[in-house]
Every structure is written in C-alpha cells, then in structure tokens.
Symmetry: C2
Subunit: 370 residues, 2 copies
Amino acid sequence: MKFSCEKALLQAAISTTSRAVSPKSSIPALEGILLEAGNELRLTGYNLETGIRTVVPADIQEEGTLVLGARLFGDIIRKLPDDIVTFRADHYMVNITCGMSEFNILGTDPEEFPELPTVEYQNTITLSQAKLRAMIGQTLFAVSDNESRPIHTGSLFEADDKGLTIVSVDGYRLALRHEAIDKKEGAESFSFVVPGAALSEVEKICSDVDEPAQIIQGARHVMFKVGSTMLVSRRLEGEFLAYRQAIPRNNTIHVVGDTRALLSSIDRVSLIISDKLKSPLRCTFDHNLLKISTKTAIGDAYDECPLEGDGGGLEIGFNNKYLMDALKAAPADKVRLELTTGVSPCVILPTEGEENFLYMVLPVRLKAGE
Amino acid sequence: MKFSCEKALLQAAISTTSRAVSPKSSIPALEGILLEAGNELRLTGYNLETGIRTVVPADIQEEGTLVLGARLFGDIIRKLPDDIVTFRADHYMVNITCGMSEFNILGTDPEEFPELPTVEYQNTITLSQAKLRAMIGQTLFAVSDNESRPIHTGSLFEADDKGLTIVSVDGYRLALRHEAIDKKEGAESFSFVVPGAALSEVEKICSDVDEPAQIIQGARHVMFKVGSTMLVSRRLEGEFLAYRQAIPRNNTIHVVGDTRALLSSIDRVSLIISDKLKSPLRCTFDHNLLKISTKTAIGDAYDECPLEGDGGGLEIGFNNKYLMDALKAAPADKVRLELTTGVSPCVILPTEGEENFLYMVLPVRLKAGE
C-alpha cells in the first residue's frame, strides 16, 4: 500500500473515524483504524456497536489494506507539519514521512478487523445536518442509562408526511423534537430506535451547516450519511413507550417564563442539593411568579422567577436536574409550562406557533418540611 | 456580623483565598474561609503551609468573625445575580441575600481556624507583578517532587545589587531566571527558598500588569504582597545546590536554534516514547543541523531541525520531557545551546545580550541501537 495525501484531510478523517474505535479491547484490531486504499482511500472505525467510515482525497500509488492503532496514528498525523503525508506499507511495516519527519511503526492484519454490517435501503429521510444535529442534541439527555429496559437506551425516530419526530424517555421525563424534513423515501410512515451512543457520535459528525444528512433505515441497522462520512449502528429492538398517550394535553394551568431566568433561579437553589443530599425543588406557581425553595442538611435556599400567568398557588416538587436538563435543551428563549396538579407531569412547550419541541418532567412527591 | 458588598468583588476574593484552602481536611475549619469584618472585610484561606489573605471593599454594618465552607460559599456567590450581596450572621447561622435569592447556611467557629504566621520584615524586594509571575512560571517546572531532598522542592530566591535570581533544580536539570528589580531593602544580598506549592499560587495571584509585587523575607517565613492580597508561606530550610559551580560555562560547541522549531521536532519524535516505553532522544549535532531519533517497542521516529553553527557530529542522549520543559519555558524565540561532550550537560541560553535565563539539562547515556 502506498498513498500520499494532505495532512489536514487525513487528520480530520482519523479524528472522525476514531470516535467509533474502542479505546481498550481484547481484540487489538478493534483499537485500530482500518485503512483501505483502492479506488479511493477509506478509513473505518468499528466497535461492534457503531461503525464510522469516511473517504479521504488521496493519491493512491499502490493498493492495499491494513489496520493501524488509532491513537498512535492520530497522534503522529496531528503533530506532523502541514504538508503532504506519504504513507507506505510493506506487509505490516508502515513508513510515514512528511517534511523532514519519518516514522516506522507496525500495523496489524486487516483480516482481524470485523466487517461493517451492510444496510439494505428500506426507508430514507433527508434533512439538513444542522437540523439533525440540533434535534439529537436536544433529546439525547433524556435517553435512559438503565439497561433493564434496553429499548429506552435509544431514541425513537418517527417519520411520516409531517416530518421527523425524535423522542427519548427514561421513566422520569420525556424529550420530543419535531421538524419538517427535505425528503422521505420508502414507506408512508416508519419508525426505528437508534442507540444513544450512536446518536452522540452522529451529533458530532454533523456540522452546523445546511448540507443534507441522510438517514437510511435497514432491517436491523440504520445508517447516517453525512458528507463523505457514514455511520452504521444496529437498531434497538423492542416496544418503545406509547408516548402520545403518556403526555397529558388537557392541562389547566398555563404559564410562560423566560428560559434563562428560570434556569438561573433553579441553578441557584440547586446549590445546596448534592448527590449525597438529595432533595426536590418545592415550586409554587403563584400569580405571575414562581417561588422555588429547597432544604437539605446544608441549609435552605429560596429564589423567585417572574412568570406570565396564574398558577393558582399550585405546589409541586421536581428533581432539579431533570427540570434543568429540559430547560437547557429547549430551543426557545421563552417556554410555556403546562400543569394540572401537584402529582401530574409538567409539560414544557414553545410559547407559540409550531410545536417543534415538547419536554415532560414527572413530579416528585413532597414531604412536609422539605 | 453584617456586611454588604458587590457580588463580583466578593467572588474574586473567595476565588483568590480558596487557592490556599484544603480541599479535604480532618479539621473542618481548614476547608473553610475565615471572614473577619472589622474596619475592613478580610477573607483568609490557610492550609497550614500556605496562607492567602485578601481585603474586600465592603460596607460593614456589624463586626464579627466566622468560618464558612469555601466550596459552598464560592458556589453560592458565583451563581448569585450581579448585584449587592447582603451577608448576615447570627452566631453560626448565616443568611445571604442578593436580588430575589436567599440562602441560609451554617458557618463554623473561627476559634478553630489556625492563626496565620506573622512575618517580621527582614529584607524586602519590589518588582512588577508581570515580571515576578513570568520568572516563577519559567522556573517552577524544574522544582523537584522528590521529598528525600526537601530543600529542592522549592525555588531559591537570591537578591543582590544586580537584581533577583530564581533557581530550581531537581537533580536532572536546572532552571534559572534573572531580572532587575525595582527596589531592595534590608541586607546587601540575601537568599531564601520558597516551596514550589506556594510559588504556584503566587503565580496565579499575580496579574500580567506593571503594578508592583513585594516579597518580604522573615526569619522563618516569606510573604508576597500583591495588590490587596498577601500570601504567607514557610521557608524551606537546608543547603540548596551550589548552582554556580554546577553550570559548565566553558562549552566548546555553540549552536543557535529556533525555539518553536526545536520543540516541534522533539515533540514529534517523542510520540513513540511513553511512560512504559521510555527511551532517550538520540541527538546528533551536525553542521547547521540537528538530527533527532529514537526507537522503542512501538517503532522508530526521526526528525531534523535546522541550526546555526557546527556541532561537529556530537551525539548526545536526552530525556525528551526535560528538554521540552526547558524549551517551553525559555522566554525567547531563539536559543543558544552550549555543549561539550556527550556526557556533559547541555546549557540553554539567550542568543545574545543579557543572560536573563539559563536552563541546564543533563544527558542520558545512550546504548548502542537505541
């Protein structure tokens, strides 16, 4: 194998594919990147759950395949001068030169690198990278980390004529984002669940640009195509929460608040709550005002935040982190909070127009004196 | 105790004094900041080795003293809105209000907070904060972390008519910085050794400004006065290396190199050296050229760096980290390397003019094939 290519391009490709490389594995090949020089130069990282493959513009003088330790390969290329890198492999002996720098390191057998699963196109969604990235980022936090319900360790993707809806739930809260899409091919409506770990990588691969990203659903896998990079992940199997029924939409109390002001107030009161000293936030929704207080062994804290609307004095307890996660993710400067009683969920929505996001947080029972 | 003061000023004072607070101590008071409201509001952190005290502009309505947990106090003040903070303490019960926010937390007995040592003025040095900060930063890395020679876990401060010299040594290398000072009071020449841990804090307290910093040497302690903040540290006792005799100054080989280019070359070759796979850099000083190579179980690496001057083919081995530390700290774009043989130290100096820095790195014996 022999090729030469620009240092910066190779560096970017290694950094992208490295995201799917196991940092530590009993199979050494899984700690490496598969290099394939054929018609084009392809780099692949695969940890048996998620695989990332990207194409690098390169001048290929001799074809070949090889696996190279991802960390060392990345470090070497990153520190080389900004110049053309020449890569030569004779069996497993790799020679890398660039400017006055030269490295001789050992690669491993590409036969030991597991094949990426092939995804048979069933249904396809196309939307902008920026939109996909935002949608994932604004729902991923609510994915469950509890392995006893594996299906909820991923996000539900639902596509129909109205667009794409992404939903994450973990038993205590729900995060939903909806957006129109550019194109849909295949079935009229379809849905699948993508593991949270894979989505976290898709979020990083997508840039904040209008360029399209493609999501291709196969029978057991899903593929994300972003520019010259593609990510393959297995799909999660199982029965996802029937989320539409779970969201109460006849709430009697509607109040509107400034997202950042709400966050600051909750953040301050949360100072005396810790992993050891847990305590719910006691929220009282009054006329044009939200009062937040809590009490732990450290002391007590109180804060206020102006609201528009009347909560009628409703008192409700929340886990501070869940409420903050939802407010941090909400893509709006102002949000509408919908409530009914102190034991029913709080729904967080856009103040007006399209309902392109919805967060739901379940309340925590308050004890007297908390 | 009752006072009110601007949030930003209080926050800065807590952040400064917190540097000398023990993160975890069997004496709870040592995890706290001592607040003293008298004629002025003073905050003190003290970990029995280093003490930091600072004065905050405040409107004191009622005098008093109290100790408050540094982390919680800092977190609360940091997250408060930018407004006037009102602080009230009734016995140990502390009430903090600011805007609509209110906290009630418990302080502890100031009697349990150890007294800062008093420093009797013997000798005083005055120089700019920026200069002191740079001098410390550029020598601190060579302070020893080997407790078997406690005196070398600090830096030597030497003051005389020519200025201030700071020297750190750790048995394998030496770092020296010299600068003129604004003022010197007391003895004609004097010297003392300050623990590295204290210097690391002094470096952070000093700003990059021309405002003066004062160094006051007492019998057993040393005090740094920087603006309204002062830091007290014990002095290290013992016999510091007679460093002047240790530095060879009749080196026969003089070459000049670009500091950043040297660093890049060494950095690249170092990629295949790790804590597990140690190997010295094999440096060959040729005519106008430095060749650097190394070999470990990972593979081999080679790099070149242009130099001005003739090394006559001298081959010498170095610990890559020591050489890089010295080059990173050297306050010059170009440095002069002085060498004599492959077993005598390498001295790194300014290329011309005043000798305001000097680094020395001892060589490592090279084995054939390394």
